[in-house]
């Protein structure tokens, strides 16, 4: 595999751009009909394997583990080039979440076993954190894992598990003990979803898609060697939030896609002469511009200092709320079309105002609700809290 460290940022950019332009399948691109599209199932696996075979898989992973070992700046370029192609987004929990945790907390055997299988898509992972009574208050989780000889026996339920129906494995936080602090006694367990006693039930969301699931565990037997890190100390692993990639989730690209759609709708609906519409749009365009400047500044800091501070909470709040406001603008100006559920043809534009609007709603919920992000900002950045 090519060692990109020697290449300049611009050499890297043009190499990846050239490869994408030649190889990214046109039918996978985001469109006005599906502006925030994500690849799923077989398509996702096909894409990740294309990347793997061509030497572009896992930009953030170190080379010793089979990744590209890119600097933060090159990782950012990698994502910019995908956005430039309007490539569909890809949620790969194995690469983005589990891999970095295995590298930090896994044994040598676990690393040798799990990491290649992630890269080759032999295993597709999903994340089992939330439970019916443990959402923002994640440490209240109750799914239990009792140690019986060389196995854990898992009982309980996870919920809002994204793409679990596409996955072969789940990394889950489970309760292995009761201590004074509820954060203690949680362990990080790797579970094969094909094990007896696992039941996955997809849940339809308000956009009409089946994106997340309930996952039930009834006496599911998991080898003891599937424990990641130490027993009872899984909370620290989940809290570590490793990898720079969580910054890229708040890239302004999604807002720009939404804004482009809004602009096309203004033309298609012949609203360019409506001052209220164009003034509202102008404010949103300036919001996206300024957010882009802020995002670039935080990225520059991350590049300089090699770490991301609590500012990432600010990016999460701003990007998600801005995208919601743009999607709200789209339905506000679309008149009767915003009451249509499904595809509409407006002039030469094919859109689904309902889908884009509904898909923007959970942005302020998942990945830590925005109310919690504001708590984090107030406490860690501004030093506000209960004490005096």
């Amino acid at each position: 595999m090519i060692h990109w460290r020697a290449a300049s940022d611009e050499e890297f950019r043009s190499a990846f751009r050239e490869w994408l332009t030649k190889n990214y399948p046109a039918e996978w691109r985001q469109t006005p009909l599906r502006p925030f599209r994500r690849l799923r199932g077989e398509e996702k696996i096909a894409w990740l394997r294309m990347l793997r075979e061509s030497g572009w898989r896992a930009p953030a992973w170190p080379r010793e583990h089979g990744g590209l070992g890119l600097s933060f700046t090159k990782q950012r370029i990698y994502h910019q080039e995908l956005e430039r192609q309007r490539a569909s987004r890809v949620l790969d929990f194995g690469e983005q979440m589990l891999g970095p945790m295995v590298m930090s907390f896994g044994t040598a055997e676990q690393q040798a076993e799990i990491l290649p299988r992630i890269l080759n898509c032999d295993e597709i992972w999903c994340q089992g954190y939330s439970e019916p009574n443990a959402g923002s208050d994640l440490a209240a989780l109750r799914t239990g894992a009792a140690l019986a000889g060389e196995e854990f026996v898992v009982n309980g339920q996870k919920i809002w598990t994204t793409h679990a129906q596409d996955a072969t494995h789940i990394f889950a936080l489970v309760r292995t003990g009761q201590f004074a602090r509820k954060q203690e006694g949680i362990s990080f367990l790797l579970i094969d979803l094909r094990s007896p006693g696992v039941h996955v039930r997809p849940i339809m969301n308000i956009a009409g898609d089946e994106e997340y699931c309930e996952v039930f565990f009834a006496d599911v037997r998991v080898p003891k060697s599937n424990l990641l890190g130490k027993l009872h100390e899984g909370w620290a692993i989940a809290k570590a939030l490793l990898g720079h990639e969580r910054i890229f989730v708040s890239s302004p690209a999604m807002c720009r896609v939404a804004l482009s759609l809004a602009r096309e709708l203004i033309d298609a609906l012949d609203l360019a002469g409506d001052l209220r519409v164009t003034d509202d749009f102008a404010a949103l365009a300036a919001d996206v511009h300024d957010y882009g400047a802020l995002y670039d500044g935080v990225c520059a800091q991350a590049d300089e200092h090699g770490e991301i501070g609590p500012e990432v909470a600010m990016l999460k709040v701003l990007a998600s709320e801005l995208q919601q406001r743009i999607c709200e603008f789209v339905v506000a100006v679309s008149h009767e079309y915003s009451g249509v559920v499904g595809e509409s043809t407006i002039g030469s534009l094919q859109v689904d105002t309902h889908w884009q609007f509904m898909m923007s709603r959970p942005l302020t919920v998942y990945g830590g609700a925005n109310e919690v992000q504001r708590d984090i900002l107030a406490k860690t950045v501004l030093g506000l809290g209960a004490g005096r």
């Binding site: 164009t278 102008a282 300024d290 709040v317 506000l384």
Partner: protein, 382 residues
């Protein structure tokens, strides 16, 4: 989906560099020892919004030469540095007219034909020996420099009226935009010239703005004519707009810091106010507004420095001005609310901050005007 394609990738947002840090340090040291906001307030025993000694010190630090070109004896430092200083002026709410009588005349002089007379003027302005203000506006809310009604006749006399001329009471010379036989021109007029009548108003920071009537007022000097003169004036206005955005960012930062202090120390219902989630979230929102404001003016300054006068940089300046005005107003209004009864008292500094925020947000184009200009220039709106 290619709307807004003209909004190409702007330059990288740089972190603060050494020069900027040095400027920031010397500014905060100077203002700490030489400036108190009490002199600007409505209840000031001895109101004073222009301290000649402080202005001299500002000149000695080289700040008035920051935006002068090297050929005029200036430092020719980027607009980003002038912005960094303006942010410090805002963070200390300093009324001395760094923007109107420093940044803007310097930007103007640097783009005029470099005649000995202009070199002398620039030298006087840069050295703090002479105070100049630009009298260009003829209507409230004016943002364009076209349609100039003031007339310069062939015998070198101006007749017309300019409005909202900043610091007209303390400036010895005015740079006046006029229509001449050749079209547009800029002329220098002495304040004590015959036929010049100012009518002053107090503004938020205690400085004066004036409507100025010229009645066959003789000019001192013709500074420039036609397109190059108009470009010089346009650049001065753009740079002043950016500096005002930076100033308001500093203002928002100051009020936010004051608010945080209050939230941490004021106890009600046996808890510090900062323990209440409503106020935590408000503080977080204001923090984010300030961060956006800072990122926006910095990006705009860097756009301008890499391609002065470009459409993209002018769009970015508009975004920055609108953003900063919103951040400063919102933070200062929240300040009045959170300080409660004290917030409504002139004794606290937050009312002053709100007043200065109003002054700056309404100067050189309102938020609404700049948002429209941003959308137009950035290619997002027709």
């Amino acid at each position: 989906m290619n709307a807004g394609a003209s909004a190409v990738t702007p330059p990288h947002v740089h972190a603060e560099d050494e020069v900027e840090r040095m400027l920031g340090d010397s500014a905060s040291a100077l203002f700490k020892s030489r400036h108190q906001v009490g002199r600007m307030k409505l209840n000031a025993a001895r109101p004073q919004s222009f301290d000649r000694d402080l202005w001299r010190e500002i000149a000695e630090l080289g700040w008035l030469r920051l935006r002068l070109s090297e050929s005029l004896g200036g430092q020719d430092l980027g607009l980003a540095y002038a912005g960094a200083l303006a942010e410090q002026f805002g963070a200390a709410i300093v009324p001395e007219p760094f923007i109107a009588c420093g940044v803007m005349p310097a930007a103007l002089c640097s783009r005029l034909p470099q005649t000995p007379a202009i070199a002398e003027l620039a030298n006087d302005i840069g050295g703090g020996r002479s105070l100049a203000t630009i009298a260009w506006q003829e209507r409230a809310g004016q943002t364009h420099t076209d349609r100039t009604a003031a007339v310069l006749t062939s015998d070198g006399r101006i007749t017309g009226r300019k409005v909202f001329v900043p610091n007209a009471d303390i400036c010895s010379v005015y740079v006046v935009s006029v229509s001449s036989a050749d079209g547009f021109a800029l002329a220098l007029v002495r304040r004590d010239a015959p036929g010049l009548v100012p009518q002053s108003h107090r503004t938020g920071d205690g400085t004066q703005r004036a409507h100025v009537t010229f009645e066959s007022t003789p000019i001192e000097l013709l500074l420039g004519e036609s397109d190059s003169a108009r470009f010089a004036l346009d650049c001065a206005i753009e740079e002043g707009t950016l500096a005002s955005a930076a100033y308001q960012t500093g203002l928002a930062r100051k009020v936010h810091a004051q608010l945080l202090e209050h939230l941490k120390t004021r106890v009600q219902f046996d808890r510090p106010l900062g323990a209440f989630q409503t106020l935590q979230h408000l503080a977080a929102d204001l923090y984010m507004a300030g961060q956006l404001s800072r990122a926006s003016w910095r990006r705009a300054a860097q756009c301008w420095d890499s391609d002065p006068g470009s459409t993209l940089s002018r769009a970015a300046i508009s975004a920055a001005k609108a953003r900063a005005a919103q951040a400063a107003q919102r933070t200062a209004r929240a300040g009045v609310q959170i300080l409660g009864g004290l917030g409504f008292a002139e004794e606290a500094d937050v009312g002053l901050a709100l007043r200065v925020a109003l002054q700056h947000s309404s100067w050189l184009g309102s938020s609404a005007q700049h948002l429209r200009r941003f959308a137009h220039l950035s290619g997002w709106c027709p």
